[in-house]
C-alpha cells in the first residue's frame, strides 16, 4: 500500500541525509529489515492518532536545529555514585573518556563489535523488540533508529552486578544528530542498574531494548536535561519473563522537544514493571514540550504494572501523557495502575492527557487517573507558617508533588541525588 504523500515526502527528506552504516554478519540484515519497516510506515504526521499533541516536525526534519550546550556550575548527576562510566560524545562512544569496560557479572561490547559476529546473543534482541512494538501504533523513529544507529552498547548481565553502569551523554557539537541503540539482556537471576544522563546532542534519537529473562531484575534511572534547545526522541522496549522486575524512572528538565516512548511487554507470569517520570518544564528561556507515551501489555497472569508520571509546567510549557494498559485474554489477576498528573504553575501552560485501558480478561484490577491542578495552598501555608519564605516553600511543594514518581527509584542514594538536582533547578529559576 502506498504511503500518504505527506508521510512519503517526510520520509524521503529524512532518508536523503542518512545512509546505512557498514555492518558485518547479521547486522546488515537487521538494519535492512528495519529500513523496510520504516519505509512501510513513513514518518509520523500531526494527523496520526498518537501525534495529535506533539508536532513531529523537529524529529522528521532532514537536519537537526542547532542547540547550544548549556553550562551550569553544578556537578553532573550521579557524580558521587560508585559506577562504571561509559561516555558518549555527541552520540559516539569514547573509550578514552570511559572506564575500563570490565565488571564482574557483566559482558559489555560496542554494538559494532556485536554485529560483526555471526553468533551473538544481541541478534535475538536488536531490532526484535522494536519490530514487535509497532502494533497497534507504529513507532517509525524507532525503526529509523534500528536501521541507522551509529553506535550503542550491548550489555549482558549474568549475575548480581556490584555497581551501576552509567551511560553519560556529552554534548559538544551544536549541530550533532545522534542515533544510539543499546541492547541489554538480564539473564535469569541476574540484576543490574543502568543510569543515563546528559544532554547527548542537538538532536538525539535513542533506543534501549531490554530483555529481562525469568527472575531477572533491571533498574533504570535516567535524567534528560541541561540544554534548553535540545530535541530528543527515545524509546524503551522491554520484554519481561516470569517473576522478573523492571523499574524505570526518568527525570526531564529543559529541552524544546522530548518524546519518550516506552513499550513494556509482560510475557511471563508474576512479573513486575514500574515506569515513572518526573518532569520540570519552563518555557521562559526556550519552548518546552515533553511527551510521555507509554504502552504496557499484560500477556501473562498475575503481573503488576505501575505508570506514575508527574509534570510541573510553567511559562507556556506543554506536557503530554499518552498511556495505555492492554490486558490480553488470559492475563488474569493483572494489577495495573496508571496515574498522570500535572501541576500548572500559571495559566499559560498546558497538560494534555490520553489515558487508556483495554481489558480482555475478567479477573483483573486496573485503575487510572489523570489530573491537572495548581499548587496546594494549605501545604504552602503550612510551610510558610514555619518561617520558610514563599519561594522556597513553593519549591518544596513542587518536590512534594513529584514525590510519588521519585519514590519509584528503589535506591535511596539515587533518589536523593535526583531530588537535590530538582531542587537545584528550582532554586536557579527562583534566582533568575
Amino acid at each position: 500500500m502506498a504511503l500518504p504523500a505527506a508521510k512519503q515526502g517526510a520520509l524521503n527528506g529524512r532518508l536523503a541525509t542518512l545512509s546505512l552504516p557498514e555492518a558485518g554478519a547479521w547486522g546488515t540484515e537487521a538494519r535492512r529489515d528495519a529500513l523496510a519497516r520504516l519505509e512501510a510506515m513513513g514518518l509520523p504526521g500531526r494527523r496520526d492518532e498518537y501525534w495529535r499533541f506533539t508536532d513531529p516536525g523537529l524529529l522528521n526534519a532532514a537536519e537537526p536545529a542547532t542547540a547550544a550546550a548549556f553550562e551550569n556550575d553544578e556537578a553532573p548527576l550521579f557524580s558521587a555514585v560508585d559506577r562504571l562510566k561509559l561516555v558518549f560524545v555527541d552520540g559516539v562512544f569514547s573509550p578514552e573518556k570511559s572506564d575500563d569496560i570490565a565488571l564482574e557479572g557483566l559482558e559489555i561490547e560496542r554494538l559494532s563489535e556485536a554485529m560483526s559476529r555471526d553468533i551473538h546473543w544481541v541478534r535475538e534482541v536488536y531490532g526484535v523488540l522494536e519490530a514487535g512494538a509497532h502494533s497497534p501504533v507504529p513507532r517509525p523513529h524507532a525503526a529509523l533508529n534500528t536501521a541507522f544507529a551509529r553506535d550503542g552498547i550491548c550489555i549482558r548481565a549474568t549475575g548480581k552486578v556490584s555497581k551501576p553502569v552509567s551511560l553519560i551523554y556529552l554534548h559538544e557539537d551544536a549541530g550533532s544528530d545522534a542515533i544510539l541503540h543499546h541492547v541489554i539482556r538480564v539473564e535469569p537471576g541476574a540484576e543490574m542498574t543502568l543510569l543515563e544522563n546528559g544532554p547527548a546532542a542537538a538532536r538525539f534519537n535513542k533506543c534501549l531494548e531490554v530483555d529481562v529473562a525469568d527472575t531477572g531484575r533491571f533498574n533504570h534511572v535516567r535524567a534528560q536535561g541541561r540544554d534548553h534547545e535540545r530535541v530528543a526522541v527515545t524509546h524503551v522496549f522491554a520484554r519481561l519473563g516470569a517473576e522478573s522486575t523492571f523499574k524505570s524512572f526518568t527525570m526531564t528538565v529543559n529541552g524544546v522537544m522530548t518524546r519518550n516512548e516506552a513499550v513494556i511487554d509482560l510475557t511471563g507470569p508474576d512479573a513486575t514493571a514500574h515506569i515513572a517520570g518526573a518532569c520540570l518544564g519552563d518555557g521562559a528561556k526556550a519552548a518546552f514540550h515533553h511527551d510521555d507515551t507509554v504502552f504496557v501489555r499484560h500477556r501473562a497472569e498475575n503481573c503488576e504494572s505501575r505508570q506514575v508520571f508527574k509534570k510541573v509546567l510553567r511559562n507556556g510549557a506543554t506536557g503530554v501523557f499518552q498511556g495505555k494498559i492492554l490486558v490480553d485474554p488470559g492475563a488474569q489477576k493483572t494489577d495495573g495502575y496508571q496515574i498522570s498528573q500535572s501541576l500548572l504553575l500559571d495559566g499559560d501552560s498546558q497538560f494534555l492527557a490520553k489515558p487508556e485501558l483495554e481489558i480482555y480478561a475478567d479477573d483483573v484490577k486496573c485503575s487510572h487517573g489523570s489530573t491537572s491542578g495548581a499548587i496546594d495552598e494549605t501545604g504552602l501555608f503550612y510551610l510558610r507558617s514555619r518561617g520558610i519564605p514563599e519561594g522556597e516553600a513553593t519549591d518544596l511543594m513542587v518536590i512534594a508533588f513529584l514525590a510519588e514518581a521519585i519514590d519509584e527509584i528503589e535506591d535511596s542514594v539515587l533518589a536523593e541525588d535526583v531530588i537535590e538536582r530538582l531542587k537545584g533547578w528550582l532554586a536557579r529559576r527562583r534566582r533568575s
Binding site: 494549605t378 501555608f381 510551610l383 518544596l396 508533588f401 514525590a403 519514590d407
Partner: protein, 251 residues
Amino acid sequence: MLEIRNLHVKLEEEDKQILKGVDLTIEPGTVHAIMGPNGSGKSTLSYVLSGRDGYEVTEGSASLEGQDLLSMEPEERAAAGLFLAFQYPVEIPGVGNMTFLRTAVNAQRVARGQDEMSAADFLKLVREKAKDLKIDADMLKRPVNVGFSGGEKKRNEILQMAMLEPKMCILDETDSGLDVDAMKLVSDGVNALRDAGRSFLVITHYQRLLDHIRPDIVHIMANGRIIRTGGPDLALEVETNGYGDLLAEVG
C-alpha cells in the same frame, strides 16, 4: 505580647462575617484558653493571626510585641515569633522531616539576622528535643507527616514548636484525634516550653486538655466575639453546663 483590638474578619470569597470585634490581650508568660462551640470563629482567629489566605480583615488590629501582624507575610510572622500548631498538620511527601525542620529553623535565623545553625548543632538539638516527645529517628527521617498517626502528627507539631522557640504559640484544637496517652505526651511537651517569655493561646472545645495544660485565663468565644473571660473555673463551668447558658446570658 499579643494585642488584638476590635478585630473584624470576613471570608474573602463570600460575604460572610466570621469575627465581629475580638479584643484580646495576652501578657508574656501567660497561658490563655479560648473555648467555644463549633463555628464560633476560634480557628479563623488562629488563621488570621498566622496569615492564611482567604480572609479579609475589615476592621481592627493585631500586634505581636508592638509589630503589626496583619501587614506581614506568614513567614515574617513566624520569624517574629508566632507559631500555629495546626489542627490538621499537612502531609508533605518527598520532603524529609529533618530537612523541613532545618530549613524552617535556618530560614527564621536568617530572617532575624542570625547565622544558620551548623548541621552538627542542629542534629544534636533535634535529637534531644525529639527524645522528650518520644519521636524516634525513623519519624525524623520520614517525609513530613506522611503516614503519621494522629498522635504522631500532633507530637511532630510540638517538636517544631520546640525547635523554633516561638514567643507566641497558638494551639488549634491540639487535642482533637488524641487518645489519653498521646494527650499527656503532647501536654507535657507544651508544659516543658512554658516560661516567662513565652505565651500560649490554646484553642479547644473541651475542658480535658486544660486539665493537662493549665491556663491562667479562659475566654469563651461565640458568634465571632469573646463573650466571657474568667479564670480556670470558667472552663469547668462549661464542662458542667455546656455553652447553652453562657450563650443565653449574652442573648
